[in-house]
Symmetry: C2
Subunit: 487 residues, 2 copies
């Protein structure tokens, strides 16, 4: 098999690859120093230290600030050299032009790794490039690893260690890990995830400019991490195509990997250059590489997490045949369009299944290409979804199911009672071993209620037909990849 290989030119040649055995120590430091720790609300060095002190991290935390004094109740050392202890990881949040000197002191101190949060490096023109080159030089000489610069860095929910300045209240442990070649967006996305998504987080690895630690190392680490069940990655470039492919192959043999790659277009590539100083590379080559390695490629941040939710909550479909079950005819028609456009098939129900559903329906109704729930509702009331799903999911011609659930208060409320949802949407799919996704549509209050009830029982709910389809498409892609490679 031919494998596309590309290598970003420029700064990545400074990388000190594999000087250390992996990057796991970044996630499990015993002692940490925050260089640039601050008392001032509004400063990243304030929020960052507060996160470390309040989220539950049990390691030793040291504050470093040139002015000395006291920061958030900690003695502030004027330099890392004054810290009377070993330091595994130093988090650096001082202005860019001071970073090389800080790095020198860290090297002298014997710090194992730096997470450089500050921006103003490769992404910011010639002077920034020079500073980043200096930083890499110092680190390389000392065998010290660097994450960033220009990033929010690390989060590990198993020990609550973080280098992020983003508010992280309500952090939940879970199976998703996230690699992000960016800082703030990863933070905002994490906030969004924690407050709108049902799954929790295992680890986040923000890479920023990737001056040393790069995406393939993060992928390799998370591929082997037991707590990580699904990996999602936002990338603006790939530093080493071959190593990325190798790490991706190893990871996808064990768990799904979803990548959102920006810089697809000329404008996007130019923008990436000013963001993380990245060369985006040929997009078709990257797409081909993903396909070969069983990596799902997402086209937006929302889509990436929709797909992750499907993987985290449901079994893989064994084939492409999707049964469409809808309270509304229009939904059935739109879903049929969406399923076939996505390269899946609308399942043809067997004569037997049609007959069995038909028996319960009013005499005027019939089962068409999709199962219209409305006539069933007229016949059996709130049991309509249960009746349909039991029959549909036992049909050997069905590999997966998409349901369109309408929530409008009033007569639709009994349909979304917890017990009813359990009997309709949890039990029949679980017995069949086939995945189900639900599009919940209607007024805000009852839709959110239905979605949160469904997701608390492990049934993923989405806000559009297109999302549902894309999730099933991605799950089918991965399932086929595993089968083809006998994984």
């Amino acid at each position: 098999m031919r494998v596309a290989v590309y290598r970003e030119n420029g700064l990545s040649s400074f990388s000190c690859e594999a000087l250390m055995p992996g990057i796991s120590f970044f996630f499990e430091p015993k002692s940490v120093a925050v260089i640039g720790a601050s008392n001032k609300e509004g400063k990243f060095g304030y929020y960052l230290l507060r996160n470390l002190l309040t989220l539950g991290y049990k390691g030793r935390v040291y504050a470093v600030n040139v002015k000395g004094g006291c920061v958030q109740g900690l003695k502030a050392y004027r330099s890392i050299l004054e810290v009377p202890d070993e330091v595994d990881v130093a988090i650096v949040v001082v202005p860019a032009d001071r970073v090389p000197q800080v790095a020198r002191e860290c090297a002298e101190k014997g710090v194992r790794g730096l997470v450089v949060v500050s921006s103003g490096f490769k992404e910011a023109g010639e002077e920034g490039k020079r500073l980043e080159r200096k930083l890499v030089e110092v680190a390389r000489k000392a065998g010290m690893r660097v994450i960033g610069p220009n990033t929010t860095g690390i989060l590990n929910t198993s020990n609550m260690f973080t280098t992020s300045f983003v508010p992280l209240e309500g952090l939940r442990r879970g199976g998703l890990s996230f690699i992000a070649q960016t800082g703030l967006f990863a933070g905002a996305t994490l906030s969004w995830m924690l407050t709108t998504q049902p799954f929790g987080v295992a680890k986040v690895c923000g890479l920023g400019n990737k001056c040393d630690v790069s995406e393939w190392e993060a992928l390799e680490y998370l591929g082997e991490d037991e707590e990580t069940k699904v990996i999602a990655a936002y990338l603006e470039s790939v530093s080493d195509g071959r190593r990325f492919l190798e790490a991706a192959r190893k990871a996808t043999a064990r768990k799904p990997v979803i990548v959102l790659k920006a810089g697809r277009t000329e404008a996007g590539a130019r923008a990436a250059l000013t963001h993380t100083g990245s060369l985006a590379g040929d997009d078709r080559v990257f797409s081909a590489a993903c396909r070969q390695a069983g990596v799902v490629r997402a086209s937006s941040m929302g889509e990436m997490f929709s797909i992750a939710k499907g993987f985290l909550m449901q079994p893989l479909p064994e084939g492409p045949r999707v049964a469409v079950v809808s309270m509304t005819g229009a939904g059935g028609v739109l879903a049929s369009d969406a399923v076939s456009t996505a390269g899946l098939e609308v399942a043809e129900l067997s004569e037997e299944t049609r007959r069995r559903i038909g028996r319960v329906m009013p005499s005027w109704a019939r089962v068409g290409l999709f199962v219209d729930i409305e006539p069933l509702y007229e016949a059996v009331g709130a049991e309509c979804y249960e009746v349909a799903l039991r029959e549909v999911l036992q049909d050997p011609g069905v590999d997966a199911c998409m349901v369109i659930l309408l929530c409008m208060g009033g007569w639709t409320m009994p349909l979304i009672e917890e017990r009813r949802l359990r009997r309709s949407f949890l039990e029949p799919p679980r017995e069949s071993g086939k995945p189900i996704v639900v599009y919940v549509h209607g007024d805000k209050e009852s839709s959110e209620l239905a979605a949160s009830r469904l997701e608390s029982m492990g049934v993923p709910a989405y806000g559009s037909i297109e999302e549902c389809t894309r999730v099933l498409e991605a799950m089918y892609f991965y399932s086929r990849y595993l089968r083809r490679h006998k994984l």
Copy 2:
């Protein structure tokens, strides 16, 4: 100019076209009868009558039920023939097999139009087809118009007349009118709209099986309706291609029209046949017809209303050049990709604009293809968006602006204070006459707060970069259409 013409075969040949002067009486009846009115919660005939009695409709309402007695406080007549008054519109919600007889009585009574809510007609096989043919025959002979069957029918917020059984609490008047070749989905979508969208509704016209009144008549009516500012339509078929085109051209000369057409694929077309008994027609022909008539084609229900919101809230862009202003570099890169993929251009800011923004930024930062707000935040705090947007929007090389606003509580809260949002996102675009769209990303609570504040001042907020881009793309398409045709 060649115009594609297609005509759905089958039942539409029964249509009694233009027997009456338009369909406006359906929206403004002085007296209404509900045939199949019910006291039983769970029945559509219950909710429908309750809507008519409680939403504020001031016309005369009569209940008809074969059992007589009293329904929701009204005397129930056993037949429409017993109603001691003229009846403009009869809403029919009895089982399909009784509908032809009910129609005969309505004809005898001199009713001007029927809205047939019941299903079990053309969409439900041979017997249903026969019943629908009967219904059309009776109506045609009597010069009586029919909306439906298989629909939720009419809603007019200017007089609160409705034939819908969907809960409609919180109904707001506004500029959007909605044509839907479906019943329940229109209802659920209306519920969704009322509880999640900032705009109000002028009229809804549910067409169901379109046995008589069809999409082009609805389009013609809403095109001329003064309260309707934007028309959105969900269609499964076009009954008469030429007339649809004519009505669309007339409408788009006055206001934007957005169409979501289902049955794009073979599976979708088959599904449409069992839903509203529609023949979906050649999708490429329909797409070409839309382009010729200045109709925006949406690819999903969500997209249709995202675009409608843009049209309702913002002026049209005069060109394709979109300035991207982002709190996050990754957002800027993804937006640059999305804008160029959509056939728009990322605006190249003038030297002068870059210099003026650069002057305020920290020394290490520079303005790239997009404006990165983060360094501006470091320099001027919560004024960052205002500084950037004032400069960007006065640039003659910019036709529209997309902003990526991050909301994560903490340090981002001062950025979304009402006064701040007004000075950043309302005033500079308003002074420039250029449209702005905002992608709000972050935790649920502060994102929803920011979005609702923005929208209450007329700035549309969206949940993804792709939505923002699609909205600007549609607005630019329509703006170009108007200019090309000197409209």
